[in-house]
């Protein structure tokens, strides 16, 4: 259809702008020993677009990417050699979680939760982070289903909660 093409064309039309914004963040992240090159930023943007497309999502702007850079640059487990790859993997986990939780958790809460798990329970392991968050998504779905069932079965509650 027409729209996926239009949405893609938007991303394609502003890469320089995104690159400048992300390069600008290097000033903040250098004290932690990490920075992104133009090439790495281009790779991250391509990977992000692929992830968005494969998860059937649209994001106009790079607020999520910027927040991830700001949060994860300070991690003790992020190193310059694997910095760009880590960010790419984090994008995949993030958008998967947005879908799996049916957008019930907001962007910033999710990124902060990812950072906290990555730092503490997962000790910098992306695989472990992914499995922890999958468990969390499952828990969210069960809770949502329970809430839906409660609402269906209880007219009074339904009216109150609406």
């Amino acid at each position: 259809m027409f729209w996926p093409r239009i949405f893609q064309s938007l991303h394609a039309s502003v890469p320089e702008l995104y690159t400048d914004e992300l390069l600008g963040l290097n000033e903040q992240t250098r004290p932690y020993g990490v920075a992104l090159t133009e090439q790495e930023i281009a790779m991250i943007m391509v990977a992000r677009d692929q992830v968005l497309q494969s998860y059937g999502r649209v994001e106009l702007g790079i607020d999520v990417t910027k927040e991830m850079v700001e949060q994860f640059a300070s991690s003790a487990y992020v190193e310059q050699e694997s910095y760009a790859e880590t960010l790419m993997a984090l994008h995949e986990i993030f958008y998967n979680l947005k879908n799996e939780t049916e957008d019930r958790i907001n962007d910033y809460q999710l990124i902060h939760m990812m950072k906290s798990l990555y730092e503490e329970e997962c000790a910098g392991s992306i695989d472990l982070l992914q499995s922890r968050l999958e468990a969390y998504a499952e828990q969210c779905r069960v809770e949502a289903m329970t809430n839906d069932n409660d609402l269906e079965g209880d007219d009074a509650a339904w009216h109150l909660k609406r």
Partner: protein, 472 residues
């Protein structure tokens, strides 16, 4: 090069490529094709649309998320374009709209569009009030539910920012002339304008005469008119045309058997052109004698050709009695079946009875208990659907029913089938597949009856009037 430029300049906007739906997109494409918009201008407009979308996504997620699913983004984008379409289409000529796209920012066009949609929504609300007040007091479910329930749901839920293009209502009642190319509130406004025209026309007729017409119409079609989807305006208009052709007054809806026979003979002798001329003359008489709104006349004329074709075909196949509604003697008058709401059991009573039936030791006991306790067709249907009987017990129950009870059960259960064929032919050819267990037993039970018994029951079925089998 100059030649090429000249060729570009001569290109025109191809109006055939522009539709009301997605007008803005069409203008962008045609503007580029005709050389009226440059690629930079098109890009600026597209980026402007994306910025609006970006802002709306944030509003949609209440600032919680900067991404949404593709479906949501598409839906919001369609809503944005619905607003820009509304403004640009309102400008009239496509060239003027393209000029506007060049000169105005797409954001301003969008803002004006939202204003246009908002005004249309306000007009639609007012129209609904008018329609609601002029509603014809007839017990046609689709008509009443559409006006009383579906339209208010639309007015309550319509979202002109995120879902402007959605027609979020189940509008079942069919108009005589509908234009499904429109969407959202513009469709609804048009639907209400037309419904209002139809109401105005129908209100020129005596309500009692309309109710009688409906009753005869239901018998003619062998259906319960209250549950069917048909257009009241068209039924009344056609009948008024036939009445006029019979020499009666346009407001007269009753056509006797003798009048019908004379008219049928006359129509059968006419060619298609002559039928068209006769119907046109009748419509002119109706339009002159009834004080009709000037918008109603073209609307009525728009229904003419369909009527001409129906009459032509019916005359050819000798089936005008399926087009002209004549007064049919209510044979059912000798078969008045009354159902009293008080006879219907409550859920608790029904559950108790089910327990009692299950604890009965013999088939005879079960049947006796059901005959004693159940006095309503509703409860019989509930019990049969609850599978409280097994195997031969069904036959024992059906054997205990009289001819009229069996006819009522058949009329209710085989409603669709008996509209088109007799009970005799349905039972001999009807399939048992896709039927519940008790219905399969019922079909087998009827199949075992002799032809005379079935024909007699068929007469009872025909004499029964759906209006008396009320499920209210």
């Amino acid at each position: 090069m100059n030649e090429y430029r000249g060729w570009i300049a001569e290109r025109k906007v191809r109006r055939s490529r522009l539709t009301r739906h997605q007008y803005t997109i069409g203008l962008l494409q045609e503007g580029r094709h005709a050389g009226l918009l440059t690629s930079e201008e098109t890009m600026r407009i597209q980026q402007g649309l994306m910025l609006i979308l970006q802002e709306l996504i944030l509003r949609y997620t209440q600032g919680e998320s900067t991404s949404v699913t593709t479906e949501t983004a598409e839906d919001i984008m369609l809503s944005v374009l619905y607003a820009t379409d509304a403004y640009l289409f309102g400008l009239g000529q496509p060239e003027q709209a393209i000029d506007c796209l060049k000169r105005m920012s797409i954001r301003d066009i969008y803002t004006q569009g939202v204003e246009t949609v908002s005004q249309c929504f306000a007009d639609t609300k007012q129209l609904y009030e008018d329609v609601s007040q002029t509603m014809v007091q007839v017990p046609i479910d689709a008509y009443r539910l559409t006006i009383d329930e579906s339209l208010p749901v639309f007015l309550r839920k319509y979202g002109m920012i995120f879902h402007a293009h959605n027609t979020m209502a189940s509008i079942d009642y069919p108009l005589a002339q509908d234009d499904m190319k429109l969407q959202g509130v513009f469709y609804m406004k048009q639907y209400l304008e037309r419904l209002q025209l139809e109401n105005t026309f129908c209100n020129q007729f005596d309500l009692q005469a309309i109710l009688e017409l409906l009753s005869h119409y239901g018998r003619m079609c062998r259906f319960d008119y209250r549950m069917e989807l048909f257009n009241l305006f068209q039924l009344i208009l056609n009948q008024s045309v036939f009445s006029t052709l019979c020499g009666g007054a346009p407001t007269e809806l009753r056509i006797s058997v003798a009048q019908y026979e004379r008219l049928a003979r006359r129509l059968a002798s006419l060619s298609e052109d002559e039928i068209r001329t006769a119907i046109t003359s009748a419509l002119t008489i109706i339009q002159q004698e009834l004080k009709l709104d000037h918008q109603l006349i073209p609307y009525m004329d728009g229904c003419k050709e369909e009527l001409v074709q129906r009459v032509k075909h019916a005359a050819e196949y000798n089936s005008l009695d399926h087009v002209i509604v004549m007064e049919r003697q209510s044979a059912a008058s000798s078969r008045v079946i009354s159902f009293d709401k008080a006879d219907v059991m409550s859920s608790a009573q029904l559950r108790r009875l089910l327990d009692q039936i299950h604890s009965c030791a013999s088939t005879e006991e079960k049947v006796k208990l059901m005959l004693q306790k159940v006095h309503s067709i509703h409860d019989y249907l509930d019990l049969l659907e609850s599978n409280c009987l097994y195997g031969d017990e069904y036959e024992a129950l059906f054997r205990a029913f009289g001819e009229m009870e069996l006819a009522i059960l058949a009329k209710v259960v085989f409603y669709e089938e008996l509209r088109n064929e007799s009970l005799v032919s349905f039972i001999s050819a009807g399939s048992e597949e896709d039927r519940s267990e008790w219905q399969r037993h019922f079909v087998r039970f009827l199949r075992d009856k002799d032809q005379d018994a079935l024909r007699s029951m068929d007469r009872c079925v025909n004499e029964l009037d759906y209006e008396q089998l009320s499920f209210n």
